[in-house]
């Protein structure tokens, strides 16, 4: 009903002919910044209007495949198998960075815990089952950890957050890679599922001796405490917008024109290891000339002016090297 009303209203308020209307759909994680960008861009360029539905990465990919949207958005880079299902070529543009942090609730422990990669992956594999296990305790000297059973909590809904988390665990633990792997949802060896960041953080808050993972932006906005994670260089890092951009910069060195690079467990002294890009999926050939120019102009704006406003919404901005690569890829759209 609302949809019909909405349709009727848009039809009624039909913009003048010169207006370019772009439809996009996809990931929910970057939705706050995308809606800010699209609205800011519309203010600066009143003839371009971008309508974004945050229906999830999977839905965005499906709609782009079906040709019902002009471009899509995904938290997970499309691999070759997925790209093969399209009957046109896709160029993927990283837009912002997100990170995932471990959060926990242990009665009597108030400080920030440090987690090694091994500890985190063994907890989620169900091999480390008690909080005072030496794998956790050895990284946290001076913290009195209880001997209680760990209650593992993960996302129940498919999400880019789960993809980043499992991608990280796959990289640091070969057993995880062969047994569980990485995807927007996986076959979890142990644990309870909560729906959304709020579901996970709600379960963690309510369940004593539990551990879960949430997006950094969610933890920051809700003033939640979270743990430090050991990076590839052996340093324990607390996630922050700078340590996330740092990880991307380190990874960008290995990036040539293919931006589909995983930046979890990146090297570099100050990098936070559990983070990733989120992507816009743009068809390489756009036959409608006005649409093509509008999309290219928007991407150009997003990579320059747009990046300036991401930190106000707690997203980490793209490192300069990545922007440079994307600017080159932008010319490929024809």
């Amino acid at each position: 009903m609302l949809l019909l009303l909405g349709l009727a209203l848009t039809a009624y308020a039909q913009p003048p002919d010169s207006t370019v209307l772009l439809n996009a759909a996809g990931a929910t994680f970057p939705y706050p910044i995308y809606s800010k960008w699209f609205s800011d861009y519309h203010q600066a360029h009143p003839n371009v209007q971008i309508n974004y539905q945050s229906i999830g990465s999977g839905g965005g990919i499906q709609q782009l495949k079906a040709g019902t949207v002009d471009f899509g958005a995904s938290d997970m880079p499309l691999n070759d198998q997925l790209l093969g299902q399209f009957n046109f070529k896709i160029i993927q543009f990283p837009t912002v960075l997100g990170a995932v942090v471990p959060t926990y609730n242990i009665p009597g422990v108030s400080g920030e815990l440090k987690f090694t990669a091994k500890a985190l992956s063994d907890i989620y594999l169900g091999k480390v089952t008690k909080w005072n296990d030496s794998e956790i305790a050895s990284a946290n000297p001076g913290v009195k950890l209880p001997g209680n059973d760990i209650v593992v909590i993960h996302r129940s809904d498919g999400s880019g957050t789960t993809f980043v988390w499992t991608d990280y665990l796959s990289k640091v633990n070969p057993e995880w890679k062969s047994k569980v792997g990485s995807n927007t949802s996986v076959n979890w060896p142990v644990g309870l599922g909560g729906k959304g960041n709020e579901g996970v953080s709600g379960l963690v808050k309510q369940t004593p001796n539990s551990i879960g993972y949430v997006e950094l932006i969610y933890a920051m906005q809700n003033h939640m405490g979270f743990g430090l994670v050991q990076n590839a260089d052996g340093k324990f890092i607390k996630a922050s917008l700078t340590s996330v951009t740092e990880a991307a910069a380190g990874a960008a060195a290995k990036m040539k024109s293919d931006v589909r690079i995983s930046i979890t467990d990146a090297t570099g002294a100050d990098t936070y290891p559990i983070c990733s890009f989120t992507y816009l999926l743009i068809p390489q050939t756009i036959s409608d000339g006005t649409k093509r120019e509008a999309i290219k102009a928007f991407l150009d704006w997003m990579l320059t002016t747009g990046q300036g406003s991401v930190e106000s919404l707690n997203y980490a901005r793209l490192p300069k090297a990545v922007v440079g690569i994307e600017m080159k890829n932008l010319a490929e759209i024809k």
Binding site: G58, D157, G160, G181, V186, L192, K195, Q206
Partner: protein, 326 residues
């Protein structure tokens, strides 16, 4: 003969000229046609739904066959999909909810229709109808903030102390799980049972009650042996309406069941239901087989509903044979 023929010519055929117009004006034919079309729309919608589910689940049906119903693995990474834990979770949570909601709802309906003064009955019924209109996410929140902590600190330990010898009440109690989901579902479906059962009980003719009382039955005997059996078809209907809601409920269940696709004997263990996994994973599912398996889960849910409804019909037929209400 000739007289007959002229009589027939004079008698207007129902489908010719003026007669048809007259009947149309009355509205008979129009009403017939319109309602017929509407009735067929329902059938058409249902068939289209099944057809679409069937069509879009082709990849998964071909890959797994009937094994899909029995397999316990749900692995989106390695693309092994099986519905067994979800079917189990759906049936167990629905059964728990009915076990709680049927006695509660029926007793409340008997009180409201037979014992309570009309003004009280109407007020309470109004509130119950309001309860039936509350969105399910509200019940989910109620579950998270009230039922889950209660389950962890009070209900769970109490059950373990008293019935802990049963495998149903053993194992770790996280607060979320089959039992919690069943309780939240019971709270959600009880208004349906009360509301429909009360209406049905109120339609039992007064003389049925008076006849029983005249035969020397007590009020309780007249209610329990005459009124309730008279209304049992309607009451069964209300129970199956509740069951249908419980089987298909998504939001409230996923918030309190723990979302772990495992088949566990313990009612404290976390589980998963069909509706919940579809809602959780559909938006972010990529890959043909994964999507197709989620759609086949929808088909499975539809078939379970069909089977349950068939059982309901059989039950109603069986109880009608036993006498009582015609």
């Amino acid at each position: 003969m000739s007289v007959d023929a002229t009589a027939m010519e004079r008698a207007p055929s129902p489908w010719t000229g003026r007669a048809l117009l007259r009947r149309l004006a009355i509205g008979d034919e129009v009403a017939h046609l319109v309602t017929l079309i509407f009735a067929f729309t329902v059938i058409l919608l249902t068939s289209l739904l099944v057809y679409q589910l069937f069509l879009n689940s082709a990849a998964s049906r071909h890959a797994f066959g009937w094994h899909f119903w029995l397999s316990r693995t749900w692995d989106p990474v390695f693309e092994h999909f099986g519905a067994a834990p979800f079917i189990y979770g759906t049936l167990v949570t629905s059964a728990i909810s009915l076990l709680i909601a049927v006695p509660l709802g029926l007793a409340a309906a008997v009180f409201l229709s037979e014992l309570a003064p009309r003004s009280i009955s109407d007020t309470i019924s109004f509130l119950i109808d309001l309860l039936a209109a509350v969105p399910s996410v509200i019940f989910g929140l109620l579950g998270i903030f009230i039922v889950v902590p209660m389950m962890r600190t009070m209900i769970g330990p109490a059950l373990k102390d008293t019935l802990g010898f049963l495998p149903l009440f053993q194992g770790p109690n996280y607060g979320v799980g089959f039992l919690t989901a069943g309780i939240v579902l019971a709270i959600m479906v009880v208004p349906y049972i009360i509301s429909v059962s009360r209406e049905v009980l109120l339609t039992v003719p007064r003389d049925q009650r008076e006849a029983a009382l005249a035969l020397g039955a007590t009020r309780w005997e007249s209610t329990w042996k005459v009124v309730v059996p008279w209304a049992r078809t309607g009451i069964t209907g209300s129970v199956f309406l509740a069951l249908a809601r419980a089987v298909g409920e998504t939001m409230a269940v996923t918030m309190v069941i723990g979302n772990d696709p495992k088949i566990a004997t313990s009612l404290f263990a976390p589980g998963y239901t069909i509706a919940a996994v579809i809602a959780n994973e559909f938006t972010e599912a990529t890959g043909k087989l994964y999507l197709s398996s989620l759609i086949e889960l929808g088909l499975v849910l539809f078939m379970i509903t069909l089977i349950l409804n068939g059982c309901a019909r059989l039950l109603i037929i069986a109880t009608e044979r036993g006498g009582g209400h015609p």
